[in-house]
Symmetry: C2
Subunit: 547 residues, 2 copies
């Protein structure tokens, strides 16, 4: 627990609201046995053996240190969750039916949110801890109560997600019930960085699809969208300073305006999700030259970006200046992977430049990466680079650099041993385009493997599952992401000792299947869990909970 709980019963208004309802909380054998599955598993929780009904007219209150607090972020989050929780019962017909039986009051009529800070800045390491209490209440009043207490609105968002997972629609009474009450949950994430990468260069993903992905990330408590915006295939984003760059888009309809990008950042922030933008340099950047052919070493040799020209770094600086206005997150990804320097050594003017500066192509790669880092740092960004930069010139990287592992095991261990921070994305397990990695291998992958010193463990910011886009477009991206991204999400959120390594089919699988069905209910096209190959169709007819 990162903060001390205040006695929540001290709020007089809660008492006031509650005493007007008689509790009908009654233990019920069948209900006790009902599933209440949470994903990801909270750090710490206890549950009980009675059930509480939730009013379809559920309201919420937000109380800050100075009394009633104004939080449009939490107000809109509450409305989202209300429509999730009452998908069956409430809103219209269901409520009308219920009204005719209104002699039976509901137990939970208000969700109380208590915030200890009104700072809504969303940065790396933002406090996402929360407590959630759902109970009959104490002896001084009848009726139930539900209270989320958090240090920040983002902690409260995580608590809202957990609250929504406690609620289940009971088809017999046609009410929403919280089984196994009382619930006392103290929760916080294990890692500060819990990411998902989207690649909008191999396939353009429309805004609506990106929003669907972000929305579903919030269900699994992921908190960073790593937006791999541009790659060699296409350059979809508008860059006002260099307006020809998005001529590198596939078509003039497969583009993002600056306003679109703002909208994505804002949509994500409302869900407690940071957007980390990436421009991958100097490799993976062929599409830049569609608008500015000078960025290519030559028209016949187009990658990496021309290291010899000042213009190249002017463009990078221009892009970063424009992006800085859009992306408030403190991390910015500069790529740096898979740089094949043949075009540098084969193009006369670049070769000349290398000779003049007494550089090998490897030196030039280092020169390029460090220069890009300087630009990012000058714009108050912490640079993130794919692991090749660390593997090639570890001692030269800016000490603030966050090393992004992808190629092999053990890179984060080496990086943190040298004092760098690290993000874990081992491709063998956390690359979602690798369709032959079953959920349990994703689940069992441990970002801290081989890192034993506490001081070094702290340098692992977290991890990220990567959805490379070669075969993932608007038609199958969600299906490829889910449910495996959820397996990684629990690994990154829940305490290491509560995520068992053995007998997963008994200890974890039913809960993951339950979460997959929850995603489906919420309209997310999450695939069957147990197919060996990801995103395959179900083999035959059957229940969502078995497949």
């Amino acid at each position: 627990m990162m903060f001390h709980s205040k006695p929540i019963f001290s709020f007089i208004f809660i008492l006031f609201i509650s005493i007007s309802f008689a509790s009908k909380a009654t233990p019920n054998h069948e209900e006790q046995q009902s599933l209440t599955y949470l994903w990801p598993l909270p750090s710490n929780f206890t549950s009980g053996n009675y059930s509480l009904s939730v009013d379809p007219s559920l309201t919420h209150s937000v109380i800050g240190n100075g009394g009633v607090a104004y939080s449009p972020l939490l107000d809109s989050a509450f409305e989202r969750y209300r429509s999730i929780i009452f998908k069956h019962a409430g809103f219209g017909f269901g409520r009308k039916l219920r009204a005719s039986f209104s002699v039976v009051p509901y137990d939970i009529t208000t969700l109380n949110i208590v915030l200890h800070s009104d700072n809504e800045e969303l940065q790396l390491g933002v406090d996402e801890s929360y407590t959630l209490l759902v109970s009959k209440g104490n002896e001084s009043y009848v009726g139930g109560e539900a209270t989320i207490e958090a240090n920040t609105a983002y902690g409260a968002l995580r608590g809202l997600e957990t609250f929504s997972q406690l609620c289940s629609f009971d088809y017999t009474t046609k009410t929403v019930q919280i089984h196994k009450a009382p619930w006392s949950i103290q929760d916080k994430p294990r890692f500060a960085y819990r990411g998902l990468m989207l690649d909008t260069s191999r396939h353009y993903l429309p805004i609506s699809i990106i929003k669907q992905v972000i929305e579903s990330m919030s269900y699994a408590k992921l908190n960073v969208l790593h937006w791999h915006i541009i790659d060699e295939e296409s350059f979809p984003l508008e860059i006002p300073t260099y307006p020809n760059l998005w001529k590198g888009s596939y078509t003039k309809w497969e583009r993002y305006t600056v306003e679109d990008a703002y909208e994505i950042v804002n949509f994500a922030q409302m869900r407690g999700i940071n957007v980390m933008a990436e421009i991958d340099v100097p490799g993976h950047a062929e599409s830049w030259g569609a608008g500015y052919p000078d960025l290519w070493p030559s028209p016949s040799c187009k990658e990496p970006l021309d290291v010899s020209k000042t213009f190249t770094f002017d463009v990078i600086s221009g892009i970063l200046s424009d992006m800085r206005k859009i992306f408030p997150f403190e991390l910015f990804h500069l790529g740096g992977d898979e740089v094949h320097t043949d075009c540098w050594s084969n193009t006369p003017h670049v070769k000349e430049w290398l000779q003049k500066h007494n550089m090998t192509t490897k030196d030039a790669y280092e020169y390029f990466v460090l220069k890009a880092q300087d630009i990012a740092i000058s714009k108050n960004w912490i640079p993130v680079n794919w692991e090749e930069t660390f593997n090639t010139f570890p001692s030269k990287l800016h000490p603030q650099t966050v090393v992004h592992n992808w190629l092999v095991s053990g890179v984060c261990a080496k990086a943190v041993a040298k004092g760098f921070r690290c993000i874990f994305s081992n491709q063998g397990f956390w690359y979602l385009d690798h369709l032959d990695v079953p959920w349990n291998e994703v689940y069992n992958t441990e970002p801290l493997e081989g890192i034993h010193k506490e001081s070094e463990q702290k340098l692992v910011l977290g991890g990220e599952v990567c959805m490379w886009g070669e075969t993932a477009d608007a038609s199958d991206v969600q299906q490829t992401i889910w449910p495996r991204a959820a397996a990684a999400a629990e690994r990154m959120w829940s305490p290491r000792d509560s995520t068992p390594a053995k007998n997963l089919n008994f200890t974890v699988l039913p809960r993951l299947q339950h979460f997959r069905c929850l995603l489906n209910r919420r309209g997310v096209a999450a695939s069957p869990v147990t197919n060996f190959y990801a995103r395959r169709a179900p083999d035959g007819a059957g229940s969502c909970y078995d497949q």
Copy 2:
């Protein structure tokens, strides 16, 4: 044209709104060449060579015969389409930017909807015709105008869809433009019944997913959701009269309440889509016995439903009574396919009953189907039956029966020759679970093939693509439906002579790819068009418009 256009310029308020804006409609060479693809193709249209901008604060007016009309259905449809049309530009950031340039007025500021009837009853054959005019307006005022004129709100809905397809976001000016104006479109459907079948028994489809399917159907102007609710695998729907029936659901979370069903019907109706419910009897009904084992011939031989018991028909009657309150559509599907009668001849008490009534199993099949038809007719429903009923005892079927083709070619021809109405769903082409049928074969399939007399052609109500659910669940159902369902949708909407049979790759494919990308932009997981196998991932990186 099914009605005479009134001179739309007679509305003084249009004049009033329009004269306050100076037209900036200017022909532009690049814009002239811009794509304006419509799907399905309207019956009749002309276009021109200039472009008109659309105000992100676009408003609408609905005028009925008696002046300003009140249509919540059209109001909410307009809001849906507004958010589709202005996905990029409007709402918030984009609009704020635009405001700073507000010296440039928009051409289209109001969409005028003129209705000739305020009857909002949605039944088979409802008038879906509309005209849509988009132009600079006549000489008496400046500024552009857009007017949909229709006999019913449902015609206006179709017009709204077409209007939304005319609008495209221009990334250069960051405005929504209608290219190739003036547009004059007179449109109406070729067939009254343009269906899609969903199977919620092989896999339970959550409400959100069903709504996504319905929403996307409206984009292709499909107008009947055939809801194959129940089959042998599961019985998900609540039947208040026989409350144990939904014990046949997979789990207690994979169910639809009566209120859920109402909500689906209402959601569909708001989009001009009827819901035709099906209970498939006497075969495909094993799941009924989970709640009432008496419906099985015996606990070891569970299908077809026990023909010998009055109880069986009481239950059917009870189900139909309950469903009649939910489903206002005049057609009701009684199934009747694939009836294997071994359990009747092998179960002693049924065998006895057959002997007593001097019936063969084939007689009993006929007896069952006709008795179910009588029940449906007594509840004021027109029975629809799969073709086996017609193939087996054509002269016995109730003359109102609508024969639903699925097995082979030529069934509709035989049915209409005998005076029955028919729905075309040839499994070789219009069963969406047949993944090896490419889009062009779906497109080229003709419901009227082999039917030459006009009087007989009129008896073909239309067709339906069927999404059987064995391998289609929440994760892949949209991906399997689209884009092939759109190919059938155009076949059923557009005039036969405007849907060419040859050179489809040049004449139709680019337009279908455009529609697939439109679906993606609207958040629908429509698959690449040109993959031979449906719902496959794209082969590699590339533009949506090429795949």
